[in-house]
Symmetry: none
Subunit: 148 residues, 2 copies
DNA sequence: TCCGCATAAATATGCGCATAATTTGAACAT
DNA sequence: ATGTTCAAATTATGCGCATATTTATGCGGA
């Protein structure tokens, strides 16, 4: 394919984010270029999603890796089916039949700041978040944790 | 963006697959072109994934979908009590004592596009919808289905 | 016949481009 | 303060291209 710098570039981004938040994607593009990595804003956008980076007031940051949280979610990753926002502060997570309670418990244990609370039915979990932004960040977080 | 044919093209693919399996992606590309839809193999590949199409010995097929539909709701119509919107995207349905789970299951099976997900408690079902409009449509739909 | 192994066919994917969608910000009104 | 509206800035995404990856198809030797 066009370029196999994929992994290296992502590592570079990770390093940068560890030093401090990144204002904008454009800044990342420029800084990466200075380090010899070529990439467009498109790629950076996709990389950030892949890395599970979250946009905060300061800019893009890597979520403090809550080892415990990731493990909890990873443990039930196989039970997850789909996720969809319902309005600005409700996230609906569909799971394998009968697994919703277990998934809800896992989310609880993560102690994620975005989550106000959640309820599990049979194959559906309702997760209440405090705001629209929290909701979006939560989606990113779950996707990332489930893959790790 | 380059092209907004996205949805239409997918519909076209869906239609084709309903008529019969598609040998290869290349065949789909050609057939779509004949129907006036332009797309490369790349796009078709992604569309097929999006549609959930599966590759069988015959080629690509759509997984069989069970359209139970209104029957499900009609079956539990007698258990419904009241319905009320709670905010723009949550519908609260009260049911006969202990019937909520059954009602929630019926809603699930309907596969209504407005419904993001729902959870049944004891005599209450929370139904999450993606928007205020979806919610209103859903109310209409339930009322109609329950009467039929 | 049944394996490897080479090769071709088919499918999937990284990428940048163009552009859509969303968010931010400023100015003004309520 | 809070809401409203528009425009600019920022971010996200559909798409085709080029190419990587995976899967099917010989073909020769055991």
């Amino acid at each position: 394919m066009p370029n196999g710098n994929h992994e290296k570039r992502r590592d570079a981004i990770r390093q940068l984010l560890l030093k401090g938040p990144a204002e904008t994607q454009a800044w990342l593009v420029a800084t990466l270029a200075a380090d010899g990595h070529n990439a467009t804003q498109s790629s950076v956008s996709r990389d950030l999603r892949e890395l599970g980076a979250i946009k905060t007031a300061r800019g893009y940051e890597l979520p403090a890796d809550n080892q415990a949280g990731d493990e909890q979610v990873a443990a039930v990753a196989g039970l997850l089916r789909t996720m969809q926002a319902a309005g600005p502060n409700l996230l609906v997570v569909k799971t394998a039949i009968g697994a919703a309670q277990r998934v809800a418990l896992a989310f609880d244990r993560c102690n994620w700041p975005e989550v106000v609370g959640n309820i599990g039915g049979d194959d559906t979990v309702f997760v209440a978040t405090e705001s629209s932004i929290a909701q979006k960040n939560l989606i990113t977080r779950i996707e990332h944790s489930a893959r790790s």
